[in-house]
Amino acid sequence: MTGRVSVLLLVSGFILLAQFEALRSCAEILVPAAHAGQSEPKQGRKPDRLPRRDRQTDVIVYPPAPTLAIPPSLTPTEPGAAPLPAPERIEADISTRTIAVTSAYAGAEILVFGTIENSRQPSAESGYYDVVVVVEGQPERVMVRRKSRIGGLWINTQSFVFSAAPSYYATASTRPIDDFTDKVLRDEIRIGFDAIGLVGSAERGRQKPMTAEEVMAYRSAVVRLKQDARLYQSSDYGVIFTGRSLFRAKIDLPANVPVGPLTTRVYLFQDGSLLSSYQSRVVLEREGIERWLYMFAFDHSYLYGLFTVLLAVLAGLAASAIFQRRTV
């Protein structure tokens, strides 16, 4: 009997050890699996109120697009000129303006959709226009650390601080952005990973003076690590035309996107030149018990600690009470 149990125990011990590996992959499998189910509107989340869309004309602002230059010859008001086609303008909206982060939150998917006014595109498939959708989070301070080997151990030795890096950055486009834009334009309107606004900080910390290459290595490390965490994403064929002028793009917001406002920008290109742009916002907000716990944990941190301890004591005592009743 004893021998059998001890074998069983060793096995369970090994199984647990195996979990060190398995759990990591398990977490990766389970989390996306839940994401897949996210396209349906979630229960418990506020339904998107339709009146919002009716009010969109008040909400939508057309910012002066940086490089948007419509030749005067194209303005239709010019008298005497031949009836020239009116300039294209892009209008867009987002499926959800407020996303509630509740304790059942597993990320969300937003749909950015819109239309091109005065579209000259013969069909949805013609590829006459290119559209780029950018969803960007708030800039935040990011510290990157680099490991090196010291006495046989890998230890964080150097660090670099970016005073501002977007917490989240996703692009979707009709085709790879580099195929139809040049670097100058990408940098100017900040589209594509190379153009992400990462601002190096003057903070010294424990960092030695760094060469430009070293800073570039830190910069690409931020982009790479954020990409691994699905916080930086690009979808080269993510914008789909569903008609002559209608387009749509799905943007995936994983659960680890920090809460706060997200800026949505939509750009319309034709032959590599920017024709029109549009801007809007989505807000991620903590709600329900989630919000309550978070506020509690940060505003009354010691009381929150005490609350967690009481929760633990209750859980422990309740369990033993239940099991004692069963065994006695």
Partner: protein, 309 residues
């Protein structure tokens, strides 16, 4: 069903954490240990920030040890006086430990530090337990009594001042060693998210010569309060306790522990210690491996948990 963890700021399947809690609970019920030494590394491996893993693990330890402590107390297996002395030391150790975690987190060295702590403590404790249990098993097989402990044996511990009488343990010893042991265990609880039973129990048996029937009860008694103090201090100074994560681990853990305890009653003490030693050494090697092997990614983003309200 997925759950979003407010402090760890991540989302994962409920069953993942419940299952983890149950597996660790089974092992902790089996060996009569808190299981923190498994919870903390497992959470870190799953991507929970190291400080959150430690802080949340302390909350789980409260849950897993409170029912045991109450049961032991009812059976009169707790030396309350000794427990209070240990606890006094434990509070100081916890306060110092949490401050150290805070400093190390700011320096960006907490991850490496916690890994080194785990390798060091698990390595030493595992090796000692392994040697001891193998010797006991050999001695038992060769015939004769299993316990090699002689009562009334004196050691350097008995030469220290501030002697106190601990009636339940039938001891008349200095208050200094229990205070020191308590402080050390409290320190470990705060930095590693462990109950410290793996230090406390051997220290009580071999250093203080506490009778075996009182050891577990008194250790549990001390663990509940030290872990509670560590949880409150972690939440208060580091915002590193995730109540939802803790709750999931607790529910899984307390259920698993019941089955573990039932299974453990069928094993002999030295066999249990041998298995536990093997498990401890495996965890130690696994953590040590990550420190030595060349990482695929040299860069990392700083743990921002608790830093951005």
């Amino acid at each position: 069903m997925n759950v979003y963890l407010p402090i760890a700021e991540m989302s994962a399947h409920v069953l993942l954490f419940l299952g983890m809690g149950a597996a660790v609970g089974f092992i902790s019920g089996l060996f009569g240990v808190g299981g923190g030494f498994l919870i903390t590394p497992l959470l870190i491996f799953m991507g929970v920030p190291a400080t959150v893993a430690v802080g949340t693990s302390t909350a789980q330890i409260v849950a897993s040890s409170v029912s045991g402590a109450v049961a032991q107390y009812q059976r009169n297996n707790v030396d309350v006086k000794l427990g209070l002395v240990l606890l006094t030391g434990g509070f100081f150790g916890t306060v110092i430990g949490v401050q150290l975690v805070k400093i190390l987190r700011e320096l960006g060295q907490f991850d490496v530090f916690i890994a080194l702590c785990y390798v060091l403590f698990l390595g030493v404790i595992g090796t000692l337990m392994l040697i001891e249990s193998v010797q006991t098993i050999r001695r038992t097989r060769a015939g004769g009594a299993g316990s090699g402990r002689k009562s009334g044996e004196h050691s350097w511990v008995h030469g220290l001042p501030f002697k106190m009488r601990f009636q339940r343990s039938k001891l008349y010893i200095s208050a200094v060693p229990p205070l020191m042991i308590g402080a050390f265990v409290g320190f470990l609880a705060a930095i590693m998210g462990v109950g410290g039973g793996f230090v406390m129990v051997p220290a009580m048996i071999y250093l203080l010569r506490v009778p075996t029937n009182v050891v577990v009860g008194t250790s549990l008694f001390q663990t509940v309060f030290v872990a509670a103090a560590a949880t409150i201090l972690h939440a208060g100074t580091l915002n590193s306790v995730d109540a939802i994560l803790a709750l999931l681990l607790m529910v899984g853990g307390v259920v698993g522990a019941q089955f573990g305890a039932a299974a453990g009653s069928q094993l002999k003490g030295e066999e249990l210690r041998f298995l536990l030693a093997a498990l401890v050494l495996l965890v130690c090697l696994r953590i040590g491996w990550d420190l030595v092997v060349t990482p695929t990614e040299l860069y990392s983003l700083a743990d921002s948990a608790g830093g951005t309200p």
